[in-house]
């Protein structure tokens, strides 16, 4: 299908976060845990509407993309992450931005 015009596209938000954990965490495990948590909290329809995607993760710092109407819900999902592949993690949300470029800048200024 042809690309939708800008007014039809969903507005994005990028949530910058970091994990405090004893070891590095695998990106695939984080994505899986994030989806599993989102599905149990908000269901299939919520997950479909959220447009959530783990954009970047380096083992400690990460960026999650979502629709702007779902920012709070994705933040809650991130906050409820507790164990990833058997390892205790403490997710800390550093901020929310509107562009990926700013999100990366935000991450760099926070030590990522």
């Amino acid at each position: 299908m042809k690309n939708a015009p800008p007014s039809f596209r969903y507005r994005k938000r990028y949530i910058v976060f970091k994990f405090i954990s004893p070891e590095w965490v695998d990106k695939k495990d984080v994505a899986r845990a994030l989806w599993r948590n989102f599905l149990t909290l908000y269901g299939d329809t919520g997950a479909a509407e959220s447009q959530m995607w783990l954009e970047y993760f380096d083992g400690t710092y990460g960026i999650v993309k979502c629709a702007h109407t779902f920012t709070e819900k994705v933040k809650i999902t991130l906050s409820t992450l507790h164990k990833i592949s058997g390892m205790d993690v403490l997710p800390v949300i550093l901020g929310v931005t509107g562009t990926l470029k700013k999100a990366k800048k935000y991450m760099e200024t926070n030590g990522g």
Binding site: S21, T40, E72, I76, S79, T80, H82, L90, V92
Partner: protein
């Protein structure tokens, strides 16, 4: 804004709550300390776990007045606890039972009720659903009677702590709005600490200005 986490049961990692933006914690661990980690104040607390009201009274008689007294137990223990002025707060845990009468009495006696986000973090599936359902009902009654409440992490290990902004976000699942959440994280904890540790405090609204 000075957020204070009022139900923490950790023995180590006091650096983490400071990094997460808290100005103070009330520590209910087995060896409570009054140490300060940079600007983080650690207030000592003691947990009284009882199965019957009689056991609660016996344990309360043995507590000194220097610590914040938190109670954990079944419904009848919680009901006895809110009638006793030596109790400061009713701690939150999985399967905690609080009913309408208990919350109404807690409002009258100004006993604080803890609402922790730990139940959202460590539970999954149906158990989490039940805990959310129960806590939402508790919050409704708290709102009705203006019962003093504290929004806490309820952490028993440092990894269960969350930054205070995330505690506010998570509390929305319990039907707590931002204004109420901030009250439970800043104003009410400050009142509890003043009530317990300020020598000039008499009762709510009355302060001893000068004494010779």
């Amino acid at each position: 804004m000075n957020p204070i986490d009022c139900q923490v049961e950790i023995d180590y990692g006091f650096q983490i709550p400071f990094e997460l933006g808290f100005k103070g914690i009330i520590c209910f661990s087995s060896q409570p300390t009054t140490e300060e980690v940079q600007t983080l104040k650690v207030y000592p607390g003691t947990v009284i776990e009882a199965t019957t009201p009689r056991e609660l009274k016996e344990k309360l008689n043995r507590v000194d007045g220097e610590k914040i007294v938190g109670v954990k137990g079944p419904l009848e223990v919680n009901r006895a606890a809110v009638e006793d002025r030596r109790v400061d707060l009713i701690l939150d845990h999985n399967n905690r039972d609080l009913d309408y009468v208990t919350l109404k009495m807690a409002s009258k006696k100004r006993i604080f009720i803890s609402i922790s986000i730990r139940k959202l973090i460590v539970n999954t599936g149906l158990k989490r659903v039940r805990e959310i359902e129960k806590t939402r009902e508790t919050v409704k009654v708290i709102r009705k009677f203006n019962t003093p409440f504290l929004l806490t992490s309820g952490a028993i290990n440092p990894m269960e702590l969350r930054p205070f902004r995330q505690v506010v976000d998570l509390s929305s699942l319990y039907g707590i709005d931002e204004k109420m959440a901030m009250e439970g994280l800043t104003i009410n904890p400050a009142n509890l600490i003043r009530k317990k540790f300020d020598p000039s405090y008499v009762i709510d609204g009355v302060i001893l200005e000068d004494w010779r």
